[in-house]
Point group: C2
Chain length 136, copies 2
């Protein structure tokens, strides 16, 4: 949770992810950080109140983002009511992960190692691609 907010934004941008799984100090999945929540910290609040105001800002969006996120941590991006991530172990089938995403309305599930630490993340997009992508 002490990860810099700007690094979280970069991971979202580079990783084709709808959100991030935040882990605790022991490496166990703690909660889901939706990507739009990072945007809430990156965009000045007066622009969020009236998005058309953003049009008159004579500054590159990247500069605004870097200034707003400077020195902030993931901790500050957390939603008021954080959602516990849907979690599966390494034996989960594609259908099981799809069922969990459908049930929790989460576009990503955390995959854990036997000791409960985070092994990886499966996104809805990757899952659908795997299920329907090949020859479908």
């Amino acid at each position: 949770m002490a990860t810099a907010a700007i690094d979280a934004a970069r991971i979202l941008a580079g990783g084709d992810l709808p959100g991030l799984i935040v882990v605790n100090d022991a490496g166990k999945p703690l909660l889901v950080l939706p990507g739009t929540q990072v945007l809430r910290l990156a965009v000045p609040s007066y622009c969020q109140d009236d998005p058309t105001l953003a049009r008159v800002i004579d500054e590159a969006a990247a500069d605004v983002f870097f200034r707003e996120l400077d020195g902030r941590t993931v901790q500050e991006c957390l939603p008021d009511e954080p959602k516990e991530p849907p979690v599966v172990d390494g034996r989960a089938t594609a259908l099981e992960m799809a069922a969990l995403m459908a049930r929790t309305r989460s576009p990503l599930v955390a995959v854990t190692n036997p000791d409960g630490t985070l092994a990886g993340v499966v996104t809805m997009h990757a899952l659908l691609d795997r299920i329907l992508g090949d020859g479908a």
Copy 2:
């Protein structure tokens, strides 16, 4: 809304999209269809009630999806409380779209033509990539 649900799932899978914008007969954006909502139709409900049950199904996920979605339309995938899509026109700046995503907590915005018909969709991922991706 008469689009086949299986085609919606394929577009989600192939298009790297967190959801779809559903348009009315006049081509104007009507609502957002979150990807997880399509999964709710694709996965048998007893699996959603207990995702671990999915593990014992001796059938490929793709076969289950095709059977469940067969003959269904996007209309049937719509959430109980559909969300109106955030909409911008072609003059919107990157910061304006980010502000709108932050405000509406939507990972996609609809871009419209001057006549109000849908011109395209910008995803949070594409936007972050554009803002932070180059040399950031």
